[in-house]
């Protein structure tokens, strides 16, 4: 077994408890492509951590490894104590809802698969729907909702099991800017209230800086961690922060780091060819 438990005591040292550590993790696909190489990454309790990088840098692969959808070729994932991948929630790039099921049934699904009856699940489902501002839409089917609302259902579904880590794979990439900003704000609000940990994959410098407490910049071919940026602007962050000079300066830093990461891939162009 590749995944190993770390005693709770070791995690207690340090300012925030370590939740999960990727140690020297590598992933090689059967077609010979090295998706990830020697990735070391510590995810701490309460982090809002973004993986920022160009396409092909392995950020989605890293997320799938954490979720357990894929196993590493080398290295290991160390979870703290009794926590493991069953404590994760996953939000896909697309809303990925059951098109034939109502909003309620879609959010109920993870609980239903664990054998929780409709009646037993109802309080948790309704609570989550109200947290994502979808009260009153329980009986709608996905096609009756806008793109942003579908994504809210998807977030509610991922959160209904109260996961310790929420894994998000470019969840807002397909939304228009106004909707994206709104969902950014609402996600931050939810995160601050519930204090879960987020690993957020994105290729948007601005989104990663606005949301995150830590931005991990990745480079491609092979996929690897290029550097890390602490975003120490205080929360709550609102629309005022989005237009502040501090934000602009942080975006500049992140952007420079990203350009540096792209240039570090020898003999490549950043258009993906």
């Amino acid at each position: 077994m590749i995944q190993e438990k770390v005693p709770e005591t070791r995690a207690a040292s340090g300012e925030a408890a370590m939740l999960l550590a990727l140690r020297n993790v590598g992933k090689v696909f059967s077609n010979g492509v090295t998706a990830l190489s020697k990735v070391d990454l510590a995810i701490r309790e309460g982090d809002f951590l973004s993986l920022l990088g160009p396409s092909g840098c392995g950020k989605s692969t890293a997320l799938r490894l954490i979720a357990g959808l894929s196993t590493p070729t080398s290295g290991q994932l160390d979870w703290r104590g009794s926590i493991d991948r069953s404590n994760t929630g996953f939000v896909f790039q697309e809303p990925t809802l059951l098109p034939w099921a109502s909003v309620f049934d879609n959010v109920w699904l993870p609980l239903r698969l664990k054998g929780v009856s409709r009646a037993k699940a109802e309080p948790a489902v309704l609570e989550m729907l109200s947290r994502v501002h979808l009260t009153g839409f329980e009986n709608a089917v996905p096609r009756e909702l806008s793109g942003g609302m579908k994504m809210r259902v998807s977030i509610a579904r991922a959160m209904v099991t109260k996961p310790r880590i929420l894994l998000m794979d470019e969840p807002f990439a397909a939304l228009d800017e106004i909707t994206r900003f709104k969902l950014n704000n609402d996600l931050l609000e939810l995160w601050q209230d519930e204090r879960f940990t987020v690993v957020f994959v994105t290729h948007s410098v601005f989104e990663s800086v606005f949301l995150s407490s830590r931005v991990v910049v990745m480079a491609a071919r092979p996929g690897r961690v290029h550097g890390e940026l602490a975003i120490d602007a205080p929360y709550p962050r609102d629309e005022a922060f989005r237009t502040s000079p501090d934000y602009a300066a942080l975006c500049r830093q992140a952007s420079d780091a990203l350009v540096d990461a792209i240039n570090s891939t020898a003999g490549s162009h950043h258009d993906g060819h």
Partner: protein, 283 residues
């Protein structure tokens, strides 16, 4: 912003043309086929009269209608026999088709191994298999059912198999992440996802099971009390009773149309809330 009120009164020429086009299409959709049908029947009648075609070769539509009324008892009891075979074989096709599709969906290996057999069964003309069935099976009803089933089950099998395998990859991952069992994945994900495909197959199979039932009766040459519409047609052919032949033919066609309409309605009712095929196109 009173634009909406104004627009209903003063449409620009392009929008007005589009609205007129839509109105015409709505009416034409019903009126045109009906008009052509009526025209064809009138033409049929006139051809009989102009060419003085004898009734035993081509009866006039009025005569056919008269026969349909006069022979109603005989024809409808035969129709019931044919319908019984049709619906029983359709039910068996659904059970067999869906059952096999679910079995195939359990493993790629099972599908790869057994699907070719289903294709062999499908592409071999039923008329050519029938002599064998005739040797192996004694019971007349079982013979007919087997024939109609072989013809009808394939579209259900192939469509349902396709549907069960067409589940969104992310949805599969979602079920995997939540530790879904094989049964849960089938029950909550793959079967509902396969529903539109299955219903498409069912519509085809409905028509095919009627064809299967009629063809089976033809080759089985059923007689006596258990004779369906096909036997009536053969019988009428031997006696040069063209009006009854036509009447039986019309009954079979109407039955086929009715089966298709009913299955379309069922499909629409099941899919209307979520599936693209059942939604009105929005501009």
């Amino acid at each position: 912003m009173t634009a909406i009120d104004d627009a209903t009164l003063k449409l620009d020429p392009e929008e007005a043309r589009r609205a007129r086009q839509e109105r015409l299409e709505r009416i034409g959709k019903w009126v045109l086929p009906l008009a052509i049908m009526v025209l064809a029947i009138v033409l049929w009648d006139r051809i009989c009269v102009w060419n003085e075609i004898p009734q035993y070769i081509l009866p006039r539509p009025g005569v056919v209608l008269q026969t349909l009324h006069n022979d109603a008892g005989l024809l409808f009891s035969s129709l019931l026999v044919t319908l019984r075979i049709t619906f029983l074989s359709l039910a068996l096709a659904v059970i067999g088709g869906v059952g096999l599709a679910v079995l195939f969906a359990q493993s790629k290996w099972v599908e790869m191994s057994f699907f070719p057999f289903a294709i062999v069964l499908q592409v071999t003309p039923i008329v050519a298999i029938f002599p064998l069935i005739n040797i192996y099976v004694n019971n007349q009803t079982v013979k007919l059912l087997l024939c109609a089933w072989i013809v009808a089950f394939f579209p259900i099998l192939s469509n349902t198999t396709l549907g069960l395998n067409s589940v969104d990859r992310n949805l599969r991952d979602l079920f995997k992440l939540n530790g879904a069992t094989r049964w849960q994945q089938l029950r909550y994900l793959r079967l509902p996802a396969a529903m539109p495909y299955f219903l498409g197959g069912l519509k085809i199979a409905g028509g095919l099971s009627l064809i299967g039932a009629v063809v089976a009766e033809f080759v089985a040459g059923a007689q006596g009390q258990s004779s369906g519409l096909a036997s009536r047609i053969i019988e009428a052919g031997y006696r040069l009773n063209a009006p009854r032949l036509f009447a039986a033919l019309i009954l079979i066609s109407l039955t086929g149309i009715l089966i298709f309409l009913v299955l379309s309605l069922v499909s629409h009712l099941i899919l209307r809330r979520w599936h693209e095929s059942a939604l009105k196109q929005e501009r």
